[in-house]
Amino acid sequence: MISYIIRRSLLAIPMLLLVSLIAFFILTLPPGDYMTSYQNQLTSQAGLTTAEAEEMANEMRQKYGLDKPFLVQYYNWIKNIVTKGDFGYSFFYSKSVSAVIWSRMGYTLLIAGLCHFISVFAGVFIGIFSATHKYSFADYTFTVLAFLGVSIPAFFLALFMMYIFSFELGMGVGGLFSDEFIMAPWSLAKVWDLIKHLWLPVVIVGFAGTARNMRVMRSNLLDVLGLQYIQTAKAKGLKNKTVIYKHAVKNAIKPIVMSMGSALPFLITGEMITSIVLDLPTTGPAFYNALVNQDMYLAGSFLMMIAVILVIGNLLADIALAWVDPRVRYN
């Protein structure tokens, strides 16, 4: 098992290098760079002449190595990550990339984690309920809700909820804190304020995930319940509950356990759109701003980070699967 884990981790390294190269390449595709917009800013707002602005922009390019060919830029970036843990400089936020990402990571993980927790537990339990009460009124209601969950674009759900809560119900939403708490030190009142703001994005992001898990769980459990070993278990005289929870659910839950590995990056990206709409201080809006402003080190590091989380997540999922399913363990 341990050698398996080590081998898998070593295999991931060249893969991640290639991924980072491609990510870096995609980010350099758009014409111009951050300094082009910086230059425009200088001429329009600081009142410099075109020549002066160009000179300044070129100076900045030299300082950050943006004038070098693509491969040299990439090599320098990776070298600094590996040797110094330095992900580069974010021009848009005027901070180092790691400072931008780490300052936002906490809230991202908080929202993503809560959504993950809700979508797995609610999804699985509603799925089990729907499958065991097939074609009942509740089953139909949940099925329709699940269809709604996968058919509404996240950004529109966020917009619509924001509209309903702020204009129809008169509640302040958007952001993670009320104005008076943003700069305040942590206190009980601040935590309560956070909770008051947090539930909306959690519900919006969690809705789609719950719907997906519920559909998977329902159809899997229905498949499993039709198998012969379930009949045998029933014939042995086991209680219905035991049959379902001890025999059927264990097999039906496998795809959900397997998908858990990709769930974290999925949630970080799922949280992204909602955060952009609701203007939350998470990594999603930072990546979006970086893309729009061609702040390539920030955007590249974000893509890399998610790829790394995905690799680790897949590894953990494989281990979890081996733990749930002895057949995988013994092979």
Binding site: I26, P153, G174, I273, L303
Partner: protein, 368 residues
């Protein structure tokens, strides 16, 4: 004796009839399919159904709220032909906000096949006949107007063209690429398979949504509309093809040792011919199912990209572009009707999902 035999025969259904029978049983699929057909007609004949020119601004009538059709007038008299009231603009003396007030004396009756703005259909037919409109002098903005006074209903109808077709072409392209690469991978197996599988794994290592955003940010906004359209189609399919490729590979792997493949090879068919003519047609039902279920996802993806300003660029309209105007909380608070395109995305995606479910049950009864 012979007659009885022919009677027996009649009971056998062809494969197509069986598929149709199974599809008809799926009620939600039937409803979804009907809505999909209606939407297609609506988008193909968009100018005919649009009462107004979707590009023409009317600065006087900006942000006009939706105008309902009335059957009963102020005096309580019933009118068989529905009508709209004349609308007069005013200004709130205290807040200086523009107001729209109904003038009950002016009534404009609804008419069908009216003459309106001129258009060309498919670049061939010129016409100015529209499905509906109101009597001259009146306005009929069923869903209101946007910030430049353009009719939202007409913009939604034209937006459906891009929203639906971009998703359709995206899923078609990813189906072609995915099934071809998946077919090759499964058919040859061995080293080629190993290599292709690594490439696919690498693609899947990228987070989907950020990658899609990064790729479409790389499409220069200065490109002509048709190139941007193609660019977005390529981006969408680049993300999606790996899933189908994996599934097709798995199916083809199970076919490659079977007699019909061996027979084709023995008859001297080359590899490409065998894959295209014998192997992939056997996966068709599966490919079609995946394709229909991919379309709604791509509609969602395109609308998200366009909403963020990374996808389709104005003056082209898609539902995502229309919702871009609704990105400001203040704006939607004052003019909530600009969110209506979102409802269209939702219903379209929902009905294609139902349709896809029906198609899956009809083509691939074992899978469910």
């Amino acid at each position: 004796m012979k007659k009885e035999e022919t009677k027996e025969r009649k009971k056998y259904l062809s494969n197509k009839e069986k598929i149709w029978r199974r599809y008809k049983k799926h009620k939600l699929g039937m409803i979804g399919g009907t809505i999909v057909v209606l939407l297609l007609i609506l988008s193909i004949f968009a100018p005919f159904f649009s009462p107004y020119d979707y590009r023409k601004p009317d600065y006087e009538g900006a942000y006009m709220p939706p105008q309902p059709l009335n059957f009963v007038d102020e005096d309580g008299e019933l009118s068989i032909v529905p009508f709209t009231y004349g609308v007069e603009q005013g200004m709130d003396p205290e807040t200086w906000a523009r107001t729209f007030e109904i003038n009950p004396d002016q009534k404009y009756r609804l008419q069908f096949f009216t003459e309106g703005w001129e258009y060309e259909l498919f670049g061939i037919f010129e016409s100015n006949i529209h499905l509906f409109g109101v009597e001259e002098g009146g306005t009929f903005h069923l869903f209101g107007t946007d910030k430049l006074g353009r009719d939202i209903l007409s913009r939604i109808i034209f937006g459906s063209r891009i929203s639906i077709f971009i998703a359709f072409f995206g899923s078609l392209l990813s189906a072609v690429v995915g099934s071809l690469i998946g077919g090759i991978s499964g058919y040859f197996s061995g080293k080629i398979d190993l290599f292709i599988q690594r490439v696919i794994e690498m693609f899947q290592l990228f987070p989907q949504l950020p990658l899609m955003m990064a790729l479409s940010a790389a499409i220069p906004t200065t490109w002509p509309p048709i190139l941007i359209f193609i660019g977005i189609v390529v981006v969408l399919s680049l993300i999606q093809w790996t899933f189908l490729a994996r599934e097709v590979r798995a199916i083809v792997l199970s076919y490659r040792e079977q007699e019909f493949v061996k027979a084709a090879q023995a008859l001297g068919a080359n590899h490409l011919y065998t894959i295209l003519k014998h192997v992939i047609p056997n996966c068709f039902s599966h490919i079609i199912v995946v394709m229909t279920l991919t379309i709604p996802q791509l509609i969602l993806a395109e609308s998200t990209l366009s909403y963020l300003g990374l996808g389709i660029q104005p003056p082209m309209v898609s539902w995502g572009v229309l919702l871009q105007e609704a990105s400001n909380l203040q704006t939607i608070g004052q003019h909530p009707w600009i969110m209506i395109p979102g409802a269209f995305i939702f219903f379209t995606v929902l009905s294609i999902n139902f349709f896809g479910d029906g198609v899956r049950d009809a083509l691939d009864p074992k899978s469910n």
